[in-house]
Symmetry: C2
Subunit: 373 residues, 2 copies
């Protein structure tokens, strides 16, 4: 393996080097077929085998129950903000837990199709906390409850999904898990539908994954485009329209990589989850110990994936922020600029980020503080 | 260049070999950035430069007027069947010219959103002709008129777009040009909106191109998802949601390839159009001269891109069809099986198919006829 820079992009994001090498090696001839995967009919034997294996591997990795369908779709999380209410709301009530920028957008978009209400919000804390369960005002007849299980911009993560039944709510839980899917296991008993763009932990942008419980299929509003009707897509095995074939292929290689992955005596998702915990702890510990940098999120809901941080107090100047980013690039630590809506810096440390990448960032934080602090 | 098989897939389809080689070569490090294009933030300087160049090159190649916006979207032609009426119909009347399987599907889907009527159809000829202009029953107050300018399954192509004004109709013309876009020039004075999936002449599946006249922006129905509202997408320069970045990159390389392309003393689209004419004439001439094979489409509307053909008369058996396809594969002539809805064979000879590929197919047709005829 060569020494590649460490890429902290929030998405599209770093991919495992061995996956990229395999993609490059197979670019002109996939396994003796004489074709690039990009050149294959999506209905041919070659691509069918690729898509079937990808779905089976993903199902195995996340232990997706048999009564869930896995759909390969297009449009990303933002399109799902419309597609989900068109499929599940029946034009009725839907409740949103707003814990950051993305869930806020989801609630806004759903108003086009449903009586969308905010059941709880942590906007008062500027999204540095999660809304306490005791404050959730769920409507008994809601068609579903939506939350974003990891807020990419705000760096807030649900480390345990709520048990809606225990809150007296029988509605299915919908989670937007774009930026942490496949980084940890999922408790499917608490979920009705999960969706996410692939461009964080899974593959190239343009592929969207939807996990949907079978009883939620078949309720789409008449205005739902056929190409986005979960039942139509499920019955066509994600081939109603031509799927993003190359994205599915890359995702499939990432799934194979993750199945081989081992760490701390574990394999697969358990292994990557442990490494993600270790990476996040290392970085948060360095930020908390620093007099110059800070992360502002409450300790119990800090994201393992997206860690926004800022120069603190008197150090929080545009000049020092720029100096930090310039110096980072010189050290081959890429794409650390914070989201434009919040500024500062952000380290996205998805599955493909090795421990060494976080160690290199922590070393730079210390050196920077020694120089400018 | 190595000797690759000739790939006649209807889509996803063959790409220029030198594009695939460049993609492979840049897979781990795009131009010294230390990142694969798949790993870049869509808002960073690197990817912005890729997307900007791709759009500019496409605009130059097709001489797209300044009052048209070019949008990079997702969902393919089938999604556009819903997205276009949501954006343009205002829930009113829309007229469809049905000349094959795809326009038929488009008309059906539009009924979800509009008073969609069939203004003309060539179903009586089993889609081997185009509906004569004199039969088109256009409604004066239609929001738009839709046609599919190249029917991929039926192999029927409009070689001249209709002048709706001359037919007494002021409505904009919408064309689904998925399977022949960039294979020839377009008369933009006759078009209001053109859309197409990329996976024929342009790049990987999952990228959809939309060319829309600016006065048609801003009329979306309230139920149109934000991610598919042409005005929202245009104002965000195709970055409202994360676009299919890798697909845009590959498309951009195809545009650069086409700008370099020369043939018969011409360059760019004029050159590829001339080669497409020559390739199609060669194959149709061989089919017409054969006593064993036939193409059933009327001469004046035969597609230059998709050429369905069948064993004729007594030769039209499942056994011989299978023998033909097996023999083709042995000669490295791939993906010649006809669409499942019509059977037989189909040669899709998009921009990336060299003249030599068609010559090899014609030689095989003759050899097969000599052996079995």
């Amino acid at each position: 393996m060569s020494l590649r820079p460490f890429n902290f992009s929030a998405g599209p994001a770093a991919l495992p080097e061995e996956v990229l090498r395999q993609v490059a090696g197979e670019m002109l001839d996939w396994q003796g077929s004489g074709m690039s995967v990009m050149e294959m009919s999506h209905r041919g034997a070659e691509f069918t085998s690729i898509a079937t294996a990808a779905e089976a591997d993903l199902r195995e990795l996340l232990q997706v129950p048999a009564n869930f369908r896995i759909l390969f779709m297009q449009g990303g999380g933002l399109a799902e903000n419309a597609i989900v209410p068109m499929n599940l709301s029946k034009g009725g009530k839907v409740d949103f837990v707003v814990s950051g920028s993305w869930s806020k957008k989801s609630a806004e978009e759903a108003k086009r199709y449903a009586d969308a209400a905010v059941a709880a919000s942590s906007s008062d804390s500027k999204f540095t906390t999660l809304p306490a369960l005791s404050t959730w005002q769920l409507r008994r007849d809601a068609a579903y409850v939506h939350l974003c299980s990891n807020e990419t911009i705000d760096g807030v993560e649900f480390h345990e999904l709520p048990d809606l039944k225990a809150l007296g709510c029988d509605a299915p839980l919908v989670i937007d898990c774009s930026s942490h899917q496949l980084s940890r296991s999922i408790d499917w008993s608490r979920v009705g539908l999960a969706f996410g763009g692939a461009q964080k932990n899974i593959g190239p942008a343009g592929l969207t994954l939807v996990f949907v419980r079978e009883d939620l299929l078949g309720h789409a509003m008449s205005i739902c485009p056929s190409a986005f009707d979960f039942k139509v897509v499920a019955e066509a095995k994600s081939m109603y329209n031509t799927p993003p074939t190359f994205g599915i292929y890359v995702a499939g290689l990432v799934f194979q990589w993750l199945k081989r992955f081992s760490y701390a005596g574990k394999t697969g998702v358990a292994a990557i989850e442990q490494r993600n915990i270790d990476k996040a702890q290392l970085l948060y510990a360095a930020l908390d110990a620093s007099a110059m940098f800070e992360n502002r999120v409450a300790v119990d809901c800090r994201s393992r994936m997206n860690i926004p941080f800022y120069l603190s107090g008197k150090f929080n100047t545009e000049t020092l922020t720029q100096a930090f980013l310039t110096g980072a690039k010189e050290r081959q630590l890429l794409q650390l600029k914070g989201h434009k809506s919040v500024g500062g810096m952000r380290a996205s440390i998805y599955n493909a980020m090795p421990l060494e990448g976080v160690q290199a960032l922590v070393a730079y934080l210390k050196d920077f503080e020694a120089q400018y602090g």
